[in-house]
Amino acid sequence: MTRKVAVVGLGWSGFRPLTPEVSYRELTFEAATRAYSDAGIDPRKDVQGFVTAAEDYHEGTSIFDEYTPDQLGAALRPMHTITGDGLHALAAAYMQIASGLMNVVVVEAHSKASNINTLSDITAFGLDPVVERPLAAHPSFIAGLEMQALIAAKRFTLPQCGTVSVKNKRNALANLHASFAANIKLHDVLESAPIAEPITKLMAAQHTDGCVVLVLADEDTARALKGKPIWIRGLGWSNDSPALDSRAWNEARYARKAGAMAYHTANIRSPRTEIDFAEVDDTFAFKELVHLEALRLAREGEAGSWTAEGGTERGGEFPVNPSGGNLGVGSLLDAAGLARAMEVVLQLRGEAGARQLPKANTGLAFAWRGLPTTSGVAVVFGN
């Protein structure tokens, strides 16, 4: 019998492209302090476990988990790192509670992207060293190839992808956490500088610094705490092939499988009608469309036209990325998924301020780990 698990605390810091006045430890301390205060807990007394998501190469430190405990109040406690998205870490924490091993577990992930001089070179280091890396190409070429293949297959059009950028950057205008909000037109997106044809600069998310901390608890603990629990109704994660030569290029198989598992665990049969809104990865504008279809939130081949018609706007039939997504908020590297989850939790609590959706009872957060991976995580939250 699986125990119910809820998000009972939320904290954040940063969400700015440059944070020269703080280290990653100070960023984390600030977010953790907010989260513990929000949940009404003492990390030294009330928390059994801690999980962080981080990658050595993003941090510039090998065995980075060494440096994770102190700023969370986690020294001499059960703590471990997941080298994955923050939503993988959330899944790990979920399992530690669902198993009955622990009652309260803290999840943390952060981005100090501004410390990285040459992020694209690091991303390229994720390619296979024998057969792929010798091509010596900027890693964005992978996204360019994928988008070309999907346009050629008439899954969506270039202007439809541009609409995603317009929508998300406009949504971000109502979000105080957003670094890349803008009121722009479709032609601005299409005419901005090319990155990897047909992707232009305004169709690719830029990075930002920040930290998100969530506190998870079992049902009894959640009901005893002061705040309104937001339940984790279901979750799933999956990988496709890491190799460029053998992955699925015509669909986001990782998203389809992660979504299927999340819906199965949440007992959701018709995601489009049972879920009210979604925060899905839009690291590249076309990825939002691909992910919506793979997650069965849009019918195959229709995500583009649906978006162009306004169906996924904040006031539309099915709001997608009301926060502004990675395109509007900025991508938080390994914390990108937790930023999606943060918006879902705020919406379900009714604390999303100017961007509050009228109907927000069930929401989905979906993260893709970015280039060059085929790794995705989906989490369904309910109030």
């Binding site: 801690f50 994770t68 080298t83 994955g84 530690q96 085929t374 790794s375």
Partner: protein
């Protein structure tokens, strides 16, 4: 509340070697395949995959777990890599345990891979990047130096001599002579060989240290109802524990691993163990250095503080002793492909408890064993208790 029971039903490993011709993905594949074959299962039977691997800097691949995914059998499956530095190898099976215990999955393939040899001229150089970038890196430290500090602290606290510690290396390298996958097994090695080896950073000498190694190990984990269908000799998880201390290692008493004790207490509580020395029949503590085995035996509360050297001298920790310790040969003998070495210890418990350890089999029908790993900046303890 009662937790779901989880068993180990299969295990497999590659040979541990100094420089493998296989890529990391191939090593992971070989171990995973052998583990599946050992219990006559296929990838179709596997619901989830857990990867364990230490720094990306060894393989020189960013997001190493993503790159290893298909080698580990994770194509199209839920896949996650947990990471606690050198403690990863014993943490990974604990992570596999919670995958199944959570109720989300019935089976989990746990794969630990490490290929240190791509880092040239020597992987020790990669360790410069584990130190604090403001306060420590500028000093140019390496692991041998800081572990020499720890070894010194331990020796000074209890008045130990090099001989008291080097006997561990003799025992483990001799034990490893019976391990078909070992890199440094030597049935004829003597205490003098250890004491005469080159000094690296006093008091650490070359044969006090485990070697740089490539290799991979895999386990198949299953929930109760699946395990009973797969095998008539399931080996059960009785306890899991892990604990991470502060990054400020310079502020700690290095003579005793409190974090190992805390991890052990967590695992023992879950296993209902109140008197570890009586209730545990085999121990596979982490032994990348010979003094670490002694240190960890004390942290695991199997011997009183400062008393593990004496127990070793009395032969208690020999394979035919009262508490066999590292009957596999440990990291000092079998080799130390970081995360894979930790999982090798859990695999050894699996084989020992099933009576399948061949020439390494400890006598007396052991019923319960503990495996432990350690890592980061002398900072993390991970513990798994298995029983039959």
């Amino acid at each position: 509340m009662s937790m779901r029971r989880v068993a180990v039903v299969g295990a497999g490993m590659t040979k541990f070697v100094r420089r493998s011709l296989e890529t990391g993905r191939e090593l992971a594949w070989e171990a995973a395949s052998k583990a599946l074959e050992s219990c006559e299962m296929t990838l179709d039977d596997i619901d989830s995959v857990v990867m364990g691997s230490a720094p990306d800097a060894f393989d020189g691949v960013h997001m190493k777990s993503e790159w290893l995914a298909d080698g580990a059998g994770a194509w199209g499956k839920p896949y996650m890599r947990g990471y606690v530095g050198g403690g990863t190898g014993v943490f990974a099976p604990a992570q596999g345990w919670y995958h199944i215990a959570s109720g989300l999955f019935d089976t989990c393939l746990v794969v630990c891979e490490e290929k240190m040899s791509p880092c040239r001229p020597h992987p020790q150089a990669a360790f410069i990047s584990i130190f604090d970038n403001f306060t420590e890196r500028a000093l140019g430290p390496n692991l041998l130096w800081i572990f020499a500090l720890e070894m010194n602290a331990y020796m000074n606290r209890y008045g130990l001599k090099k001989e008291d510690i080097a006997q561990v290396a003799v025992k483990n390298k001799r034990n490893a002579a019976d391990h078909p996958a070992s890199l440094l097994g030597d049935a004829n090695i003597t205490l003098q060989d250890i004491l005469n080896s080159e000094v690296l950073a006093y008091p650490v000498q070359r044969l006090d240290v485990s070697p740089v190694t490539d290799g991979a190990v895999a386990l198949v984990l299953a929930a109760d109802h699946v395990a009973r269908r797969v095998t008539n000799k399931p080996v059960w998880f009785e306890g899991v524990g892990w604990n991470l201390d502060t990054a400020y290692w310079t502020d700690r008493d290095l003579s005793y691993p409190t974090y190992v004790e805390e991890a052990a207490r967590m695992a023992y509580k879950m296993a209902g163990i109140t008197e570890p020395r009586k209730q545990i029949h085999i121990a596979e503590p982490y032994d990348p250095f010979d003094y670490k085995e002694l240190h960890h035996l004390e942290g695991l509360m199997l011997f009183p503080k400062g008393k593990a050297p004496e127990a070793t001298a009395l032969g208690i920790t020999q394979r035919n002793g009262d508490l066999p310790v590292c009957p596999s040969g440990g990291l000092l003998g079998v080799g130390n492909p970081i995360a894979a070495a930790g999982l090798m210890k859990v695999a050894e418990l699996f084989w020992q408890l099933r009576g399948e350890a061949g020439a390494r089999q400890v006598p007396g029908d052991p019923r319960r064993g503990v495996a432990q790993a350690w890592g980061d900046l002398m900072q993390v303890g991970t513990v798994v208790v298995l029983g039959k």
